[in-house]
């Protein structure tokens, strides 16, 4: 009996969470997929009706805006946050005396909720209250910075706020990566008289490849599920210029009583996540098999 118990203990301990995940994650993914093929409006209905919701989705100019915003926002956010985070990490890695304090300062925005970040940046970027008004108050009457209220530029304000929030976190990731590189190799390179920038580009950064991948995965899922930042910063506006798929889905499901549309947009979001995560998982699993 004890032996049986010992043998099966791991399975028994894991079983509840396995079942919960099976139902509440994969079960509901399946449910959403089903609903996305129906004509559900206010309440879910289950009679299948082909691809009608996807047709409607791709005909909708608002979804076009939301979907292309996802790529603009996701690309700029991930790339800039990673570059900024890497630069900050390298600078912090130069044996600075107050490293602990500075690291905390840079990491601190991560402790704020996106709602707080969004609201603070809304005030900073508001032309009548924030930066523009302040600089004009200094005497530069022509200074204009109205991205927040300009439909063509508003999405970039979301990028700015998101980078401010996350680059400190990326920095911390990279800093840990920098520290994990074998010091012996670095010292050997220095003995050989190789310049510091070469040490970074040829030794340290290539050695950190897995960290880049982790940072990319973390940032890309932050980008895809971005919701609260947009709601707090722009409310999706001006017009619907800063809509993202997540806010589109919310509007359809909860304001408009159009559950079928919401479900189909959620499925597209999931497909985007899969195109990023599946190759990653595949490469991870394959290296382990090797």
């Amino acid at each position: 009996m004890t032996k049986w118990f010992e043998e099966h203990l791991p399975k028994l301990v894991l079983a509840p969470s396995f079942i919960v995940v099976l139902i509440f994650v994969y079960g509901f993914i399946g449910w959403t997929a089903w609903v996305s093929f129906t004509r559900s409006r206010l309440l879910p209905r289950y009679e299948l009706d082909g691809f009608i919701q996807y047709d409607r989705l791709f005909d909708s100019p608002r979804w076009d805006t939301a979907f292309s915003n996802l790529f603009v926002f996701g690309f700029l956010f991930i790339v800039i946050a990673m570059i900024l985070g890497l630069i900050l990490a390298i600078l912090l890695d130069q044996n600075i005396r107050t490293e602990g304090a500075i690291r905390t300062i840079y990491l601190y925005p991560m402790a704020l909720s996106m709602i707080v970040t969004g609201t603070a940046w809304k005030w900073i970027l508001n032309p009548g209250l924030g930066l523009e008004a302040t600089v004009r108050g200094w005497g530069f009457e022509d200074f204009t910075f109205d991205w927040l209220v300009n439909p063509d530029m508003a999405i970039y304000t979301v990028v700015i706020a998101a980078i401010w929030q996350s680059s400190g976190f990326v920095m911390a990731l990279f800093l840990a990566g920098l520290r994990s590189v074998d010091q012996e190799i670095i010292k050997a390179a220095q003995v050989d008289g190789i310049p510091t920038w070469r040490v970074y580009t040829a030794i340290i950064i290539p050695a950190m490849a897995p960290i880049f991948l982790s940072a990319f995965i973390v940032l890309s899922h932050l980008a895809i599920k971005s919701f609260d930042l947009v709601i707090a910063l722009t409310g999706g506006g001006p017009g619907y210029a800063t809509d993202l798929p997540a806010t589109y889905m919310y509007t359809m499901a909860f304001s408009r009583g159009d559950i079928g549309q919401a479900a189909s947009s959620a499925m597209i979001m999931m497909a985007v996540v899969f195109t990023i995560v599946v190759p990653y998982l595949y490469s991870e699993l394959r290296t382990k098999d090797d």
Binding site: L42, Y240, S255, G257
Partner: protein
């Protein structure tokens, strides 16, 4: 003797049983889901709770704040799907029909007929409360949406009268702009853009055109030249708004009119509550007039009644329906809320001049067939269609899209939402 005794006993039994029956009905219960949670609204709903309690009922309050009813809608959906619907829920307009089609609403025709609702409610509004000929919801109030509010002092200083045509409005706005006053206080949120748009549409399309376009979704009207004119006027009005309007809340826009920063605001009569709360007097400090054009756009709050089990709950539902449409509640509630009574036979002695104007216009437009549901506030169309129109309106207002493109986009969006 025996027979007498038997009669007496059975008589007592009848009395006893009818007492029990009365007891059963003496404890009406109602669980009411609503989203009246802000200061003035919460006070208004407290009036109903008191009246309900005074009639021997037990009120279970279920306020759900947030999102202009979105959060309440989500809570309601969860409750209904779980088979545990509240007695009544604050739902309005075509959403009542949508819930009816899901087969979850109750029939309160008995109360409605006993209280002659069809005689005292304007016909257009009564239509919203009926599902397939039976009564399924009780109306609470009437907000008028197509109001234009103005700062009396600013208008006087610039020698401007309240505009009665859109050309007059544009001329007044030019004068104001030249004088350094923001002509139109506006908040760049989609629903506010839609509110201005429907006021303009009512003025330019007329009552019949408005009905065809935004109630019947008649494609010829939607693609007509008049609709292009509507978008042209929206483009003109975009020029009368200050640069900093994006995302501004409606009450902040009202405050701009109040303190003379801006001259006009186009907003429903909930804006009056802001003026009143600041101690302003209608006709002296601020002026109210319907937006240019004939017609009356209404936004009616109502309680939809859900099918519930149990005599106590059904009694509560009947009592609630009776009280909500009752004269005393209609008067007290609407005085608090800033709207007007939905029944046409309530004395308006205690109401202010804007409210009496609103009530007169409602009666007149009811006669003339120009009493119309507000599309921007979810009275005319279902969520998906209304949302599609609002998307186009807000996209046009917040960009440099041409009116022709906007009309084409509007037609496509509506077709796509059906």
């Amino acid at each position: 003797m025996t027979i007498k005794l038997l009669g007496a006993v059975s008589g007592m039994a009848i009395i006893a049983s009818s007492a029990a029956f009365a007891d059963g009905h003496a404890a009406p219960e109602a669980e009411v889901l609503h989203y009246w949670t802000s200061g003035g609204e919460a006070r208004s709903v407290a009036v109903l709770q008191e009246e309900f309690a005074a009639n021997g009922g037990t009120w279970t309050d279920m306020p759900v704040a947030g999102g202009g009813g979105d959060a309440a809608g989500t809570a309601l959906r969860a409750r209904v799907l779980a088979g545990n619907a509240p007695t009544a829920a604050q739902i309005k307009g075509p959403a009542i029909q949508e819930w009816y089609e899901e087969g979850v609403l109750a029939d309160i025709s008995e109360v409605a007929e006993a209280n002659n609702w069809s005689g005292i409610l304007p016909e257009a509004i009564a239509g919203h409360m009926q599902c397939d000929g039976t009564w399924c919801a009780a109306p609470v109030n009437v907000h008028r949406v197509d109001w234009i509010w103005a700062n009396a002092e600013v208008l006087e200083a610039n020698g401007i009268e309240m505009p009665t045509t859109w050309d007059e409005f544009n001329a007044a706005a030019e004068t104001l702009q030249a004088a350094g006053v923001i002509p139109l206080a506006h908040g760049g949120q989609a629903w506010q853009d839609a509110t201005v748009f429907e006021a303009v549409a009512l003025g330019i399309l007329g009552a019949d055109g408005f009905r065809k376009a935004f109630v019947e979704l008649d494609m010829d009207t939607i693609k007509s030249d008049d609709m292009i004119a509507v978008f042209d006027q929206m483009r003109t009005m975009r020029g009368y708004v200050d640069d900093n309007f994006s995302g501004r809340d409606w009450n902040l826009a009202t405050a701009m009119v109040m303190n003379g920063e801006a001259a006009f605001q186009i907003m429903g009569d909930w804006a009056k509550g802001e003026f009143m709360a600041a101690g302003k007097v209608p006709g002296e400090d601020f002026l109210c007039l319907s937006t240019p054009g004939d017609g009356f756009l209404y936004n009616v709050d109502s309680f939809a009644m859900f099918a519930v089990d149990g005599d106590d709950k059904q009694a509560g539902q009947a009592l609630l329906a009776e009280l909500v449409v009752g004269e005393s509640f209609q008067e007290v509630f609407n005085l608090n809320k800033g709207s007007i009574p939905v029944r046409t036979d309530v004395a308006l002695d205690n109401f202010d001049s804007c409210a009496t104007l609103s009530a007169d216009d409602m009666a007149a437009s009811n006669e003339g067939g120009s009493l119309l549901p507000s599309y921007a506030h979810g009275m005319a169309l279902r969520g998906a269609q209304a949302g599609a129109i609002t998307d186009t309106v807000t996209a046009h207002f917040n960009s440099d899209m041409s009116s022709e493109d906007a009309v084409q986009m509007l037609a496509d969006a509506i077709a796509n939402s059906l």
